[in-house]
């Protein structure tokens, strides 16, 4: 469970488990992501977010080590106070880490909000997101801080996007530090 501020997402990972015949892939693991909103049934927005998360996870999980299996990731939104997509990304990565799946790299989600006056705000609250001109969410990989996933809302100029990307790459360091400390804390008890 990850909660920056008040946004909170619970992630549960099941797998690698036996896959249904219709879903199994002969050479790699089949990854499935289910995103459940806080209220209501999952709609088109959830489906598109599931696709983003699934392809991001597929890029890092070494699926070829577990062929013909299914890995299911279930995300439940507990509360939404802004930066939801990056919170989901962080929860997904920590779940993958916790399950001990073989990963090529870690990733973290960072949301940047472009204020109307041009300043860049990281991890905006819901209020700041509404006032912002554009909201950019990036998933940054731990190897060389490359961009794994990008999603934008609102329009911005090319320079502004590059500035946001640079800011997100710097912020990724803080998030990876947090991953490290969480994992250390978990395994130092036993």
């Amino acid at each position: 469970s990850v909660s920056p501020g008040d946004t909170s997402v619970l992630a549960g990972l099941y797998g690698p488990a036996e896959a249904k015949l219709s879903k199994e892939l002969p050479d790699r693991a089949a990854l499935e992501v289910l995103l459940r909103p806080k209220v209501g049934l999952p709609g088109v927005m959830e489906r598109s977010r599931e696709q983003l998360l699934r392809q991001t996870c597929e890029a890092v999980v070494l699926g070829v080590l577990h062929p013909r299996t299914a890995i299911t990731l279930v995300l439940q939104v507990l509360s939404d106070a802004g930066s939801l997509l990056s919170c989901c990304l962080n929860a997904a990565c920590m779940a993958l880490l916790d399950a001990g799946l073989p990963l090529a790299a870690l990733f973290c989600g960072v949301t940047c909000a472009l204020q109307p006056d041009g300043t860049i705000l990281l991890d905006p609250t819901a209020r700041q997101e509404q006032e912002a001109r554009a909201i950019l969410t990036f998933a940054i990989a731990s190897s060389e801080r490359k961009v794994l996933m990008a999603n934008t809302k609102g329009s911005c100029s090319v320079e502004e996007m590059q500035q946001c990307l640079a800011a997100a790459q710097r912020a990724a360091d803080t998030v990876f530090q947090f991953y490290r400390s969480s994992v250390c804390r978990r395994y130092s008890k036993c």
Binding site: R47, E144, M149, N151, T152
Partner: protein
């Protein structure tokens, strides 16, 4: 001499071409397929819709039909109309799509189109309002893929833009005494389109090579895709990179520059077609 079959080892087959910087269908890595567009009531477009456009990007064929209807605006946004895009991937366009409820790809594409309309502010919802709190236009945009050969998002955005440019909304007035709406079909006004967003899709191969306008086969073999939507001022309306292999900022910048060039070509094409069908 190693025999490399297209069906048995498609990736190796492709790598051979990519080494020579070209693709099996003869295109260069940065070359688009032939784009054709048909707008309006001529040549296989929909006569029952208020406006329609058919776009062919190589083999990928997408048709967009726009229907305008009247409805009451939502309670919390009384001065806004609605635009409802819907992308249908029928089982007739490719064997991977089954009939039944829309699959993930269709839903993700619908969400992408809705985001593009919202982000680019192509149609401002306030323009669709007729009477505050009482009456507003609803534009149902149905985008149907007739033949899927890769690069669905580019073709869909293009078809949507072409169809919306041709929409003529009849003027509507509310009768003061009866409170009912009166539609005047004789007096039509074109829809105000403020921005012209154009999408450009790239496929990433082996984490390094970027190819433009992928076919269905290339999309299956690719390790990732990127779609960039730009408008005429060179602003980014959307950077859509749903996972896939990691890219550096420089590679992303390269994609953006190519997308801006492509925008100019597509804009010219649309302007030409619109001019040819406007009655003088």
């Amino acid at each position: 001499l190693s025999i490399c079959s297209r069906t048995v080892e498609p990736l190796e087959y492709y790598r051979r071409f990519l080494k020579e910087n070209c693709r099996p269908d003869g295109r260069e890595l940065g070359e688009f397929r032939t784009t054709t567009v048909n707008i309006g009531k001529c040549l296989c477009s929909i006569t029952t819709a208020d406006s329609s456009a058919l776009v062919k990007l190589g083999n990928t064929t997408v048709i967009c039909g726009v229907k305008a209807e009247l409805a009451a605006p939502a309670a919390d946004s009384a001065n806004k109309g609605y635009i409802v895009p819907n992308v249908e991937l029928l089982s007739l366009c490719a064997e991977r799509f089954r009939s039944g409820p829309p699959g993930e790809e269709a839903q993700a594409a619908s969400q992408f189109i809705a985001d593009v309309i919202e982000n680019s502010q192509m149609i401002v919802k306030e323009d669709l309002c007729i009477a505050n709190g009482k009456l507003a236009w609803v534009l149902y945009c149905d985008i149907i893929c007739l033949d899927y050969d890769g690069n669905l998002l580019d073709a869909s955005v293009f078809a949507l833009l072409a169809a919306l440019k041709n929409v003529q909304l009849p003027s509507v007035s509310i009768n003061e005494e009866t409170g009912l709406s009166e539609v005047n079909l004789k007096q039509k006004n074109p829809l105000i389109i403020r921005k012209h967003p154009v999408a450009t899709s790239f496929a990433v191969f082996d984490d390094t090579l970027l190819i433009v306008d992928p076919t269905a086969e290339e999309e299956d073999l690719a390790t990732g895709t990127v779609t960039i939507v730009t408008d005429e001022e060179g602003r980014l309306c959307s950077v859509h990179k749903p996972g896939g292999s990691p890219l550096t900022g420089a590679k992303l910048q390269d994609c953006i520059t190519r997308a801006i060039t492509r925008h100019k070509e597509v804009k010219k094409l649309i302007d030409k077609v619109i001019k040819s069908i406007t009655p003088k």
